[in-house]
Symmetry: C2
Subunit: 447 residues, 2 copies
């Protein structure tokens, strides 16, 4: 059944509720959420109410925050309580973080007090920390239990856990001793002791660890889940791979935005107000605009030369743009190499040597094309051709080297390398390329 | 034990092999690979040989391709066969894809013939397809089996499967009927029929589907694995979330490279030859350099005006750079919005309206600062101030609108939006901002 058929059945008031209910119960919750988001408000509320309780919370989690708010505002306190109590802690925290104060208040008021305490504790972890993305619903086992007993525990409590595929072995004081995967349990004999089959070589995170570093560990070890401990090594939660996928995508967006000289924001483009958009972009535009004063001053200082040979002006954008792209190509590759852990601080000399040679190759090729173009378009003026081509060649060498060094330098100064690539690089490359150009023009053309 | 301690033990020839073996057996395979990669070639080979067979292949998978080649070239045919036969199909394919022909030949010669056939089949799928990242080691169950029988199947075959947490129910002709998660199995009663508890609402991929679209599905549904079927809906493989994490990171790198006007490449920066680097970057540099001929022509055409008032030249880089960043901020946000599925083709008017207003806000702020700066630095020449400020304002409006529209246009023309953002945007913004500048200067300053 395709989306249109489903829509026509669930929005047709002549179709009985029970038929609609059966149809929805058979669907994937992410698909239900997607379909609901296309409907009018009152239809969403009506259909949300006929969802079986077991799947209502799952659908709720998949909806965007505007629709979540719409639903919470329409439901009774009892209904809100049912949804909140069925949410996993990490999903509840994600939801709460996006809501305005009055909705948060109402949602938390109707949740069980034990769960409310946990939610409040997780809300206090910094935004980018392991603690903020963990969930507290995991399966814990005792060292002395047998495999058979472990299965009993899982069968009894498993439905309410975010994953049952990684179980955690803890002492009575919650100290983390080891992990057992469901695979190990299923392949083990029923009488074996958990303590004998558990993996004690556990890779774990601390609540305050950076979530990007955790994502790297998931990538390295191919984890499905990872335990999170507090300062006393007591198990407080787990992070699951589905949340890590979201972290990776969010961190990428931040990187891309920083590289384009935008202050990163969590909100989607269409949902960000124009004032917020302007605020996220203004600062770097301002810095770039003001730093262009340097370039302006350099041009003014060569005014006399330009007055003698005005054609020289027309090559300025070509030099600056080619230099700009040469530099940003290099810096982008280095920033990305640092982000994926391929390039480290020690590689700076290797990078410079590599960029120098790449720049020579590119510079020779572009220089040749440029020479021919200038020669043909400017009355076969050989001295002019040499001036422009030599400037271009030196600009490319300079831009690629600076572009290669800046991100490493930023990393060493503990600044995000992505920030360096756009504004600072542009300013340096523009200024230096003009100085190169005018110096060469002075010597060769005798201005 | 930290990395240095481990290194000192495994490289110390006075320590017995059995002790080294025990130490390594206790470690995570990804960590062993990381430590091996820091050693000299002969030590790697020696230590690799003392690894228990069960973990040698896992360590091999975690190593980079240079070290994999080193090991394969040092091992005997029998040893190669053992490793190859223990690799999961998807890992074997990844490894084969990176090796030179002679290594591929030797590796495939020593693998079981059945496995060799499957590897060869998967190697034929296009690089970006679902088929190329799937594995064929999954648990399949019969509809009529009971839960108890399913567990027996899993216990018997599970060790060799990439995941046992998603099992696939197929007919005797391999047609995919449904899926059962290990969670469902563990929570079910032993006598229940698989056909009664399986989920028949299966989201699956075709072998030829784009891997980026598959990654979106994993994100939407929080999958751990997804079945892949052929044209006749027969189950041929599964894709697991660990490979999807790699796909997301790789696709992101490609996007970033395209945005920076680089032809994307799979190879890491440090391992790419300078010729390859130059080739990946040359084309877009050339296009940008040549397109700057347009800008040059526009400047030349206004030469007389510039000769009268040479100070006008010094503002060209400021206008072009501020316009450039204004445009790239907008296009980056739209490209990213399209990539994460937040922005669709229908949003073009919303985007234009949004960018226009954001541009006005930024333009007003920057215009004010610019007015003051030019006023102070240029002898309080009000007409000059108005000319520059008005040009800046119009340039920002134009740049943000063009930056907002171009990626959508690219998407509509089925070109990758990321490609549009750097070269074409720069060319358009540079040319139009100069035309705006010179037109305004003509009117206000009467040049």
């Amino acid at each position: 059944m395709n989306k249109e058929e489903i829509l026509s059945i669930i929005t047709d008031s002549s179709v009985g509720i029970s038929k609609q209910k059966i149809l929805l119960s058979d669907m994937n919750t992410a698909d239900i959420a997607e379909i609901f988001e296309d409907l009018e408000s009152e239809k969403i509320i009506r259909l949300f109410r006929i969802l079986p309780k077991a799947i209502a919370s799952d659908v709720f989690v998949c909806m965007d925050s505007d629709h979540q708010q719409l639903i919470i505002e329409a439901l009774s306190n009892v209904e809100i309580g049912e949804i909140m109590n069925n949410l996993f802690i990490d999903d509840a925290v994600d939801f709460i973080e996006e809501m305005p104060a009055n909705v948060v208040k109402r949602a938390l008021k109707n949740v069980e007090s034990e769960k409310r305490k946990i939610i409040n504790r997780i809300l206090r972890y910094p935004d980018d920390s392991a603690g903020s993305i963990m969930t507290t619903e995991f399966v814990d086992l005792q060292e002395n239990a047998t495999v058979r007993e472990a299965f009993t525990t899982i069968r009894r409590t498993g439905l309410d856990k975010e994953t049952i595929y990684n179980c955690y072995v803890i002492r009575s004081d919650r100290l983390l001793l080891g992990t057992v995967s469901a695979k190990t349990l299923m392949l083990a004999r029923p009488k074996e002791r958990i303590g004998d089959i558990m993996d004690t070589n556990v890779v774990f995170a601390h609540t305050t660890d950076d979530r990007e570093a955790i994502a790297d560990q998931f990538q390295k070890y191919d984890f499905l889940a990872m335990p999170v401990v507090d300062n006393e090594q007591r198990l407080v939660g787990i992070i699951t791979v589905d949340d890590i996928v979201d972290v990776i995508v969010e961190e990428h967006t931040e990187d891309v935005e920083r590289m384009a000289a935008i202050v990163p924001s969590d909100d989607p483009y269409l949902k960000t107000s124009i004032f917020q958009h302007a605020r996220n972009r203004f600062l770097w535009m301002l810095i770039l605009m003001l730093s262009a004063t340097i370039t302006g001053t350099i041009i003014s200082s060569f005014e006399n030369g330009l007055m003698v040979l005005p054609i020289l002006m027309s090559f300025i954008p070509m030099l600056m743009n080619t230099g700009g792209i040469a530099g940003s190509q290099a810096s982008t590759l280095i920033v990305r190499g640092i982000a994926v852990g391929e390039i480290s601080l020690g590689d700076v000399l290797v990078i410079i040597w590599k960029e120098l040679r790449v720049a020579m190759l590119c510079g020779l090729g572009l220089g040749l094309v440029n020479f021919i173009r200038v020669f043909v378009m400017n009355n076969k003026d050989v001295l002019l051709c040499i001036t422009i081509t030599l400037s271009l060649f030196c600009t490319i060498i300079m831009a690629k080297t600076v572009g290669g060094i800046l991100p490493i330098l930023a990393k060493r100064l503990k600044i995000d390398p992505a920030i360096m690539s756009a504004p600072l690089l542009t300013t340096i490359v523009d200024a230096v390329s003009l100085i190169i150009y005018f110096s060469i023009a002075k010597v060769i053309l005798g201005l």
